[in-house]
Symmetry: C2
């Protein structure tokens, strides 16, 4: 029996992906979009056809059991999952692979690998599931500094729930655990983290924390941030362990310094995470709106009402239609309440009253069905969401540029913001690709003071210039979002790809402060160089 | 008409305080506690009887309009409101007053004062309402470094709500505004911050943010932290302004670096704060429990149920009795739900069901009265809470050591923690004072993973050695809390008084990181030296 391997050129396991029927639908959909029939499909690369640069540093004998230079592992760890990564993969461009991939099984082995990287002058790249869409896990280029080599530290062997505290509803969990294994190991306790980013199957707890991942809950526990009770982090200067506390007011939060630090201060090895009982009640429905901005007002009112729905996902008319969930004229609000404690009639009744006040229509019959999230419009969207991870490896080889960008903005600016971002992007897609493209919007998370809009766009690319086309579009999207007052990312992280706009958004002195912390914790500047900040020591 | 002046030796305005009737009750209460009749009462100091050290630096002419060396202002700004402060005040010990008090009216004036402090080698102490109970606002002692003088920067002139955004329910507010003025200026908008620390009347927005103040809400929005949308901070290296965002995942949160920084990185000048509509529905009641730990289990279950009460304040039997709210045999749970949007029957009904499952008894008749928080047991407690600020200035001159300490701890450790802290403190009070003392406990805030217990203790002191007695008791309390796994403070901040235990609780490398940030933002180390960290440059 051979072990399952991750695809090095796409999402998920080797041999898994979209079905023939799904591919057929894609082909006809894109043909109808761009009038482009029979898109030529570049085949995915074969591992054997890629020549990798020879490993540039010798592995010390003490680390031989931990480290590998295996061809396939170096391929898998060359890229994350951005469109730029996908384009380069289909171009067979693996010109900057990690020299070595380490699979530490203990914290001491991480310490040893970091010590080695320091003494060898190698960059060290912490790796969770590798699902970064922002260039957060690839070896640094020359611009990030003069490194002799790149060592990727894959945490996958640190994959256990170590301790469960059923009274406080928390668990101590190793950082390298993948989403499904995490939930599986918690299952017997009746507790769940319920943090489901789209990458859930192939991303890890440590990755979620390092990147401020956004999960299942549309309100309150949106980011992983609030689910972290305490952390252990191996930095090149030593280990940091914060105290398990439900709340504290003792100085600035040490956890918050590491949450979102994207591997530049240290390697997160474990965390005490706040859990909850598995929900037993659910109240869910889908509300249709003829007008998008009236739907926005409804969502705003719901988010300011103190009702805290688990899901409050607004899809604009086009996005709903594309997911097969609506007629293309209505925006859809997928609204779910869930609880491990009580029935939710009062909650959803009031939310629907608010939606109704803003012109929302909904099917009273479909209310309160336990599995309603698996049915109807919401179910259709949910399925498309999960299968969506497999789209990229099929669109890129067809020359279709399809990507997403996401942000957050206060409510009072949203309408102008949305109008402008849409028109910016429509114009730029036309300019860059020569064809009309499209752009849709949904809200992934909502706050009392504003939504987190998530945009999906597509255009017909030109395979020869596709990488450059993508960079132009990506720059336009990030510029538009940041110039117009949003954040460059609500939950995709900064990595290298969002750096120019992040640098603009971030207070200059906060950048200096991050540099000062970096020099203290990672004085040789080996960890993930080029991510978040530039080298200043 | 003369302007109202703050008392320099106690709480609130000159001429205000406890009534004769209240004082009479105090005297008889404490006499019954300690069998000490007719406690001798040291009179409060008179401003004229205090000789202050001459101001050690000349004020530059450009800052004459901003700065004062007025005798009374220097007295008022010599101390916060800890028991140690009160004891020293009644001892007429004003040996380390600020040399100068600055009242900047603009951000530029703060910049100018900081520049002057840097060039003059003076320490700069940011001052909100001065309600610190942890030595967070007094001029530094010799141990903090060699400063030529101390300049206290009182933000009281920055006292306006500058801008209200009714759509996103947020407002831009100057940091020096006091609680009542803040709510007053918001009133016409129908919005409220609803952050009511006990010090509310005499503390400021900037102070709350700098110290991670804990407010009205027992769940969810417990600390000021989550109410901050963005910040402006004047540091000696320049101004930091973060972006107004409802949520972000772009690197570690810059706001969180300043929230809880207690004035060591910069002077917070304004913030965009998240508001809410004023509540129109309320459901409140008080639940009695014969057994404290069964009450604790009830509170835990409620806090894990996703109901999010605004108030969920558990008082142990002694504390309830002392507040005149119960019979001394029952613990009381003050439970309130409030909403600006919907009636709360379903919410409180379920919470009471949970309380009932754990042996709680409550009066069904008293339910849902709009003003029930002003009546009955909850009302009695609330009144005692507000008047409590005036106790210190009356107990200290009677030689009564009465203080509070507070923490947070996960649920699974709470019972042992509580038993041990209680027995530690009972033993130490007896050892230190020679008399039996008392200690009560309540929960001020609760989280799904643990409560924030708040302890009140008292003992009969010896006026000659009272300061030393207090330090011994304070050390015992903080040691007990931190050794047994709690945080040294849930919302009173660290200041100078909690430093020894904070240093133990805080990861060493996080301390180094704070030092690195400090050297970057305040290279001459002028801001609030001795608070949070030691000088390392």
């Amino acid at each position: 029996m051979t072990e399952k391997r991750r695809k090095f050129w796409g999402w998920g396991w080797e041999g898994e992906g979209l079905t023939d029927a799904e591919l057929k639908r894609i082909d006809s959909f894109w043909a109808s979009q761009f009038g482009a029939k029979d898109l030529e499909v570049t085949p995915p690369p074969d591992a054997d056809e890629i020549d990798l640069r020879a490993c540039r540093i010798p592995i010390p004998s003490s680390l031989e059991r931990v480290c590998t230079t295996d061809h396939y592992e170096r391929l898998v760890h060359s890229y994350g999952h951005s469109l730029a990564d996908s384009i380069r993969i289909f171009r067979r461009d693996f010109s900057n692979p990690p020299d070595v991939v380490a699979f530490p099984r203990t914290e001491q082995e991480i310490v040893d690998v970091l010590d080695w990287c320091e003494s060898a002058g190698a960059a060290a790249i912490p790796w969770g599931g590798g699902s970064s869409v922002v260039g957060g896990v690839e070896p640094p280029g020359q611009e990030a500094g003069d490194y002799k080599a790149a060592v990727t530290i894959d945490l996958a062997r640190l994959d256990r729930v170590l301790e469960i505290d059923p009274v406080s509803e928390a668990a101590r969990i190793q950082a390298g655990i993948y989403g499904p294994a995490l939930e599986q190991q918690l299952k017997a306790s009746g507790l769940t983290l319920r943090h489901f980013p789209q990458s859930f199957e192939f991303s890890t707890l440590g990755g979620w924390i390092a990147t401020r991942s956004g999960g299942h809950f549309a309100t309150l526990y949106t980011h992983i941030d609030d689910l972290v009770e305490s952390l252990r982090v191996v930095t090149p200067s030593g280990v940091v362990e914060t105290r398990r506390l439900p709340g504290s007011g003792a100085g600035p939060s040490p956890d918050r310094m590491f949450i979102g630090s994207e591997g530049i201060f240290g390697v997160i090895t474990e965390a005490w995470m706040r859990l909850r009982k598995r929900p037993v009640s659910r109240a869910a429905t889908t509300v249709k709106f003829a007008d998008f901005y009236r739907a926005v007002d409804a969502v705003r009112a719901i988010s300011q009402a103190g009702l805290y729905p688990a899901n409050c996902r607004l899809l604009d008319a086009e996005e709903s239609a594309r997911a097969g969930a609506a007629d293309g004229r209505h925006s859809l609000l997928v609204l779910t309440f869930e609880s491990a404690d009580h029935p939710l009639d009062a909650w959803i009744r009031r939310a629907l009253e608010i939606a109704g006040d803003h012109g929302g229509e909904y099917d009273r019959e479909a209310l309160d069905s336990k599995d309603s999230h698996l049915e109807g419009a919401a179910g259709a969207w949910r399925k498309a969401f999960i299968r969506g991870c497999y789209l990229r490896e099929n669109l890129t080889p067809r020359g279709i540029i399809s990507d997403t960008f996401e942000t957050a903005i206060t409510w009072e600016r949203f309408k102008d913001f949305h109008d402008n971002v849409k028109s910016d992007m429509h114009r730029v897609i036309k300019e860059v690709t020569g064809h009309q493209g499209w752009l849709t919007c949904r809200f992934t998370h909502v706050y009392p003071d504003g939504p987190a809009p998530y945009f999906t766009f597509a255009g017909l690319g030109n395979k020869n210039g596709m990488l450059e086309q993508f960079y132009e579009l990506k720059k336009a999207a990030s510029d538009s979002v940041v110039c117009r007052g949003g954040t460059v990312t609500h939950h995709h992280a900064v990595g290298r790809m969002h750096r120019p706009q992040y640098d603009r958004q971030r207070p200059v002195l906060f950048g200096s402060a991050l540099g000062a912390i970096k020099r203290e914790l990672d004085p040789h500047w080996i960890l993930n160089p080029g991510v978040l900040i530039d080298r200043t020591s």
